[in-house]
């Protein structure tokens, strides 16, 4: 797998948001969640958005991933103008290009880890064998090769989140979105999850956008955006990029 970081610098950004605004109405109260925000993300990087709760980071993630529409401004993802896609086209775009990891693991209780990962692949038009090969591969990549016949009830929290990551990863997405992926986990498991996400960005050239208020994650990110009140306050690249993420989680 080629490292895409260098090439990404010269290419158009994988994800570009220009002047996006979003407001919610609750009763007669209008809350401006995002206010003319501009942002560009490059492929092969793990970008962390941090900020206090209610700062609009989850809304930003929903908009950048095409789950929500903007009030004004525009979002270009992989060259597609998300605002111009209808519901079906957005679904198709997400199916082909994006992966999601949520705070809750959202696994079907009835399915084994392997089936959780295989299920979305069935809908991508892959052959049965290809879907199984990919499911196997991505479960191995998150270190769950020996646990893939187990159901969620038989897995620990960290393992469940790794299944959720494998489910997103098996789609081989260009864009991977993670919303507070470690907040339900203890330190060790949280560490492992962020390592995996970082490695995915490096080895697959995936654009990984992670939203979290977990300060432990900051040192592992290639880029950290601090948000407050719907605006980006700071945009930093931590001086010590995570170098230890080549280890395979046990």
């Amino acid at each position: 797998m080629p490292t895409a970081t260098a090439a990404a610098q010269t290419r158009a950004p994988a994800l570009l948001a220009e002047g996006i605004s979003k407001a919610f109405m609750s009763g007669h109260q209008r809350t401006q969640v995002l206010d003319g925000l501009t942002l560009s993300l490059d492929a092969g990087e793990l970008t962390l958005i941090s900020g206090p709760s209610g700062c609009g980071k989850s809304t930003l993630l929903a908009i950048l991933s095409g789950l929500q529409k903007v009030d004004s401004g525009r979002v270009r993802a992989l060259g597609s103008e998300l605002g111009q896609l209808d519901l079906r086209a957005l679904e198709r775009f997400r199916l082909q290009h994006t992966g999601f990891v949520f705070q809750g693991f959202n696994l079907f209780p009835a399915l084994s880890a392997f089936e959780q990962v295989e299920l979305p692949l069935n809908h991508m038009g892959l052959s049965r064998n290809e879907a199984r090969r990919r499911a196997q591969q991505s479960l191995e990549e998150v270190g769950l090769a020996h646990r893939m016949r187990l159901r969620p009830s038989e897995l620990s929290g960290g393992e469940k989140q790794r299944v959720a990551i494998a489910r997103a990863l098996a789609k081989e997405p260009e864009l991977l979105f993670a919303d507070e992926p470690t907040s339900a986990l203890d330190a060790a498991n949280g560490q492992m999850i962020i390592d995996i996400l970082h490695r995915i960005a490096r080895t697959h050239g995936t654009t990984v956008l992670c939203v979290s208020h977990d300060p432990r994650l900051v040192v592992h990110a290639d880029r950290v955006l601090a948000m407050e009140d719907g605006r980006i306050l700071s945009d930093q690249r931590p001086p010590t990029p995570a170098a230890q993420d080549n280890g395979i989680p046990s």
């Binding site: 789950l67 199916l95 999601f100 949520f102 959202n106 079907f108």
Partner: protein
């Protein structure tokens, strides 16, 4: 393809059990209701379906077997003139008032006077040959096993019908009637029991054809002659239908059946849809995640519909098995139950329709599976 619908159904069977029970009991109720209705109202055409006559000749406008009027005895010779006819025999229907040896009060009975010869057509399928032969004795009658208590007699005992003494020489089964009690006797005995001096000819003539498949054509051909007084003809099948339809629709019973079927459908659909909706709500975050990953809403709807289908199919299976047991139990207790193929198909369609309606209702719950809600 990962069988999400089926695997969830199996793994979370407790969640789906109420829906399966609701579908099953709705199916069972419909099944037994239809079987009972067909059994009970089918007994109104027993006289036709229990006999081997192909064509019936009776008074024009007759609405059911039990409401016939006498026709001229000479019609028989007219019928016999047709080359298609193999055999004709009279059938006399007399409404009687039964007084048994025990204290039973008066019992309304339907006396059927039939040809007792071994090749007689009437009740040839319902009456064993030895009992038919014994009817040839004067004043001999045969009654159904299930009405002995009602009539207050046992075999060999005497009673009176319309003041005339009769003797029970045999007990048969499958002769239950609706709204009264069937009593079988010979033509001669029946004539003596008839109190109305105006009644001279038989109530019906029944005919057997050389080729039974010609029944409709022959019935039409024989119709319309007036030289021997008013009469008309029906093929046995048509007359049975007319009889059953009279009871089903002209007595309001059919409307009651349809009403009950509607209620059962509604209750079953409410319970089933609520259960399916609860199941969808229980997995709404997982569905939303699939949708975030790009699995279309249409595909998710299919999962819900498939679950509804399996709930319907499993409920139906349970209803079918239990239904067969209950029908056998009913048969053993002489409760008239009949299930025809069209009725069974109607039941299956109704139950699967119920499941489908419930599935469609549950699909609406998927609207809550908006992936954006996972990001709050």
């Amino acid at each position: 393809m990962v069988a999400l619908a089926r695997k969830t159904l199996i793994y979370e069977w407790r969640r789906f059990l109420p829906a399966m029970l609701a579908v099953g009991f709705a199916g069972l109720l419909q099944l037994l209701q239809i079987a009972l209705v067909l059994g009970i109202f089918g007994s109104t055409s027993l006289y036709i379906t229990g006999s081997s006559a192909d064509v019936w000749i009776g008074y024009p406008g007759t609405q059911s077997v039990g409401s016939g009027r006498n026709i001229d005895a000479d019609v028989e010779s007219r019928i016999l003139m047709d080359p298609a006819i193999q055999r004709v025999e009279p059938y006399i229907w007399v409404d009687g008032d039964w007084r048994g040896p025990r204290d039973t009060g008066g019992v309304s009975v339907f006396v059927s006077g039939i040809d007792t010869s071994p090749d007689g057509l009437m009740f040839s399928k319902a009456l064993p040959a030895n009992l038919r032969a014994r009817l040839a004795e004067p004043d001999a009658v045969v009654v159904d096993r299930s009405v002995l208590d009602q009539l207050g007699v046992g075999i060999g005992q005497t009673a009176t019908i319309n003041g005339h003494q009769v003797r029970v020489v045999g007990i048969s089964s499958g002769l239950r009637a609706l709204g009264g009690v069937n009593v079988l006797c010979s033509l001669d005995t029946a004539r003596q029991l008839d109190e109305d001096p105006a009644d001279s000819g038989p109530t019906y003539l029944v005919a057997k054809l050389h080729d039974p498949s010609q029944a409709d054509a022959v019935a039409i051909r024989l119709r319309g002659g007036t030289a021997f007084g008013p009469y008309t003809t029906w093929s046995a099948k048509d007359f049975a239908k007319i009889s059953v339809r009279y009871w089903l629709f002209d007595t309001g019973a059919g409307a009651g059946v349809l009403f009950l079927a509607g209620i059962v459908f509604l209750v079953g659909a409410v319970i089933t849809s609520q259960t399916l909706i609860a199941a969808v709500n229980g997995s709404v975050r997982e569905y939303a995640t699939l949708n975030a990953l790009g699995v279309g809403v249409g595909a998710l709807r299919k999962v819900v519909l498939e679950q509804a289908f399996w709930v319907g199919a499993l409920g139906l299976l349970g209803a079918g098995l239990l239904g067969i047991v209950l029908m056998m139990l009913a048969r053993s207790q002489d409760v008239p139950v009949v299930l025809t193929v069209p009725a069974a198909v109607a039941c299956i369609l109704l139950v699967m329709g119920l499941a489908a309606v419930s599935g469609l209702a549950a699909m609406r719950a998927l609207r809550r599976a908006d992936p954006a809600t996972l990001l709050r």
